[in-house]
């Protein structure tokens, strides 16, 4: 970032001489240009057109006007934030608790750590299809189990009030392993001396957790929140597999609204939606990341 002089003690004005020759940059540069810069630029252009694959008509910002008039969009926004918040919060809480549990002296710790991480490795589509079967309101295992203890389970994925929440819970089940892993790394990195000093002072278990583990695992918390919030905001695959945004539009998120518009052949409109999504995710995550990291540095 800054021009730090090496060896000579003489300040370097603006740039460090690159250690690589120009040709060394070309392969990566070509890939970056062809696969990232050009499509990004093109998407900003196509967002301003009515595009049928066969021909393109420039229509200015009409797509954005249309997109924001989309009745499903308001619901989609609310659902997206609900989903991102619920999954993110649950992953932080459960991930931290599991992290504490799995760094303690319990039997078969390595095995238990693998088990909690295992769902992360399974294909999201596979998880979605499996849980769709398990959560079937009439033949599903979940409601079957509930019925055996006398509870009548709801239509997890077919009741409009439950559908999005059910998908969020499955997302948490699938993603909490990663959060746990990050917390384990963060907790293990806390020096034992703090706990020993606390023990000398007669701190209780809860005080250990509240005043040592929690503050010193903050970098892990920041990482988990950022990762799961971004993941939640752009969530699509699990929702699409389990409910397709349904019943009706009740579990639609921004990404599934965009996908349906793409599927319907509204290519310009869905590209505009993607541009909106980029802006929204950036507008939330960049300040949040800045804020969390600054608080982390102050602490």
């Amino acid at each position: 970032m800054t021009g730090i002089a090496v060896g000579t003690g003489k300040p370097v004005r603006s740039r460090i001489r690159s250690p690589y020759p120009t040709w060394f940059y070309i392969p990566a540069g070509v890939f970056y240009l062809a696969l990232f810069l050009v499509p990004t630029g093109a998407s900003f252009y196509f967002a301003l057109t009515r595009w049928t694959i066969f021909d393109v008509e420039f229509i200015g910002i009409d797509n954005f006007v249309q997109f924001f008039q989309e009745p499903a969009l308001v619901q989609g926004f609310v659902n997206t934030f609900f989903y991102a918040f619920v999954t993110s919060a649950l992953k932080v809480v459960l991930g931290l608790l599991l992290g504490v549990l799995l760094t303690s002296q319990i039997i078969a710790r390595g095995f238990l750590r693998s088990v909690v991480f295992f769902p992360v490795l399974v294909s999201t589509i596979g998880v979605g299809i499996t849980f769709k079967v398990l959560l079937d309101p009439f033949d599903g295992l979940v409601n079957g189990a509930l019925a055996s203890i006398g509870v009548e389970g709801p239509g997890w994925l077919t009741d409009p009030t439950w559908a999005l929440f059910s998908v969020a819970l499955v997302d948490v089940w699938k993603g909490v392993g990663l959060a746990t892993l990050i917390y384990i790394a963060g907790i293990v990195a806390i020096p034992q001396e703090y706990y020993e000093a606390a023990r000398v002072d007669g701190a209780s278990g809860f005080q250990n957790f509240r005043f040592i583990t929690l503050p010193l695992a903050r970098p892990a918390t920041v990482t988990v929140i950022i990762l799961s919030l971004i993941g939640g905001l752009r969530s699509f695959d699990l929702i699409w597999t389990m409910t397709r945004g349904g019943p009706g539009f009740t579990s639609d998120v921004i990404a599934s609204v965009i996908y349906k518009q793409y599927q319907a052949g509204f290519y310009g409109l869905s590209t505009a939606g993607n541009v909106v999504l980029i802006v929204v995710v950036a507008a939330i995550v960049v300040p949040l990341s800045f804020w969390l990291n600054r608080r982390g540095a102050e602490a």
Binding site: G29, Q66, P137, G246, G248, T250, Q263, G265, F266
Partner: protein
């Protein structure tokens, strides 16, 4: 320093240009010197489509031994629409492809992408209703594969006989029947929103009644003058809501699938299932041969007993994209001519149980059609049939199935749903570049 940077940019830009140039490769299927031709057809992967084309391939092998036909499948529905459009736009479509007629066909931009067939002799034997659904102002582009079918109420004749019910001709009679059926402990109406497309029949199948009320409705709708949020278009949405409010649906309507719906109607655990007769006939032929005489069909009733007719769908077409040339094009045209002949109809009829009459002159259904097809015949004989909206207007909004799921699940009211669909239709009309939107 400046010059070095611009050199880097120039090199990078050049590399990108090369990358784009080399991706523009083409595919082509060969016609060998010995007169043998290979034809590749792009079809959807539903069971009945695959069965029909297996039958066509086997029968055509006898007619033209030198022509080898292969098929490639794509998923049905919106995903398939995108694949077809993408292949057409990039010039990588197979030699022929099988696709919807009507509004979905219009969205393919046929004048630019397909081979005009209006100079072919066999087009004279096609039913006029079908011709309009595969034509634009300047050309005719498809041959019919399969037969017409209706969107109507399939019902269990066993339940009707056991309870002594009569075929209803008005909506009130239909609801009265439902009340009797419910009292007998049978689900009056099967709904299967696990497959969302099945939710649209109350609206789509009601279109004969809309036209009976206003014969110019389809044109007004295309011109942005008629709306679903007003009568007569609203009736279909209202009827779906009434049926839900009355509690006439099966308990698991939200998660049941199309296959469940057919099973319920075949087994008589539900009395009515508004559905497409083509799909149900094919399912009965393949899976429930014993039900051929116990599943019947009647039109979705309107409020007026005098308006009682079937809303009819046209079969899909087989089209030739512009990229098909030379001997392959000739062979493809020969195949279409055969398919639009009585021999072709027979081959199709032998490979799948059809849900209605053919659309080619001289093609006759076999005598042993299931009841679901013979029940339709009187309406055809009396001229009480009308085309579905998607064949009379190029506009079909993509979100109808989600909206009808909401109306049929009590999430959204009928008027609200119809108004939402009008908004959806507007997007499609603008995308198509129609005047007046």
């Amino acid at each position: 320093m400046r010059s070095q940077r611009s050199t880097r940019l120039a090199i990078a830009a050049g590399a990108v240009a090369v990358a784009f140039a080399t991706t523009g490769c083409s595919t082509g299927s060969g016609d060998a010197d010995d007169g043998s031709v290979e034809l590749s057809i792009y079809i959807d992967s539903t069971e009945s489509s695959v069965a029909i084309f297996d039958g066509i391939i086997a029968a055509y092998k006898e007619v033209e031994p030198d022509v080898t036909i292969t098929t490639e499948t794509h998923p049905a529905g919106g995903e398939g629409d995108n694949l077809v459009k993408t292949r057409l736009a990039t010039g990588e479509m197979n030699d022929l492809f099988f696709y919807n007629s009507g509004s979905l066909f219009q969205a393919l931009n046929p004048d630019q992408t397909l081979v005009d067939l209006s100079d072919q002799d066999w087009t004279g034997s096609l039913l006029d209703d079908f011709v309009t659904t595969v034509s634009t102002d300047t050309g005719l582009y498809g041959a019919p594969v399969g037969a017409s079918f209706a969107g109507a109420v399939t019902y269990s004749k066993t339940v009707y006989a056991d309870l002594g019910l009569e075929i209803p001709t008005t909506w009130d009679e239909f609801m009265a029947n439902n009340e009797t059926i419910k009292a007998a402990g049978i689900d009056p109406i099967a709904q299967t929103y696990g497959d969302t497309w099945t939710s649209q029949l109350f609206v789509l199948g009601d279109f004969y009644n809309v036209l009976a009320d206003d014969p110019d409705w389809a044109q007004k709708y295309t011109d942005n003058e008629a709306k679903f949020a007003e009568e007569p278009g609203l009736a279909g949405f209202e009827h779906q809501q009434e049926a839900f409010d009355a509690g006439y649906f099966n308990e698991d309507f939200a998660s049941a699938t199309y296959d469940d719906g057919v099973r319920m109607i075949v087994e008589g655990t539900a009395a009515h299932y508004p559905m497409l007769t083509g799909n149900v006939a094919s399912a009965i032929g393949a899976n429930y041969p014993d039900a051929a005489d116990t599943v019947g069909v009647f039109p979705l009733p309107s409020d007026d007993a005098a308006n009682n007719g079937l809303t009819v769908w046209m079969p899909n077409g087989l089209y030739i994209p512009k990229g098909t040339e030379g001997a392959t094009l000739e062979a493809a045209k020969d195949l279409l001519e055969w398919i639009a002949s009585p021999d072709g109809c027979d081959a199709i009829g032998a490979s799948s149980t059809l849900g209605g009459p053919y659309v080619v002159d001289g093609c006759e259904l076999p005598d042993d059609v299931p009841a679901i097809v013979s029940d339709m015949q009187p309406y055809f004989d009396d001229g009480k049939t009308g085309l579905a909206l998607e064949f009379l207007s190029p506009i079909k909004g993509p979100a109808l199935e989600q909206i009808t799921v909401e109306v049929g699940s009590g999430i959204r009211g009928a008027e609200d749903g119809a108004a939402l669909y009008d908004e959806d239709v507007k997007k499609q009309a603008q995308q198509l570049g129609l005047d007046g939107w």
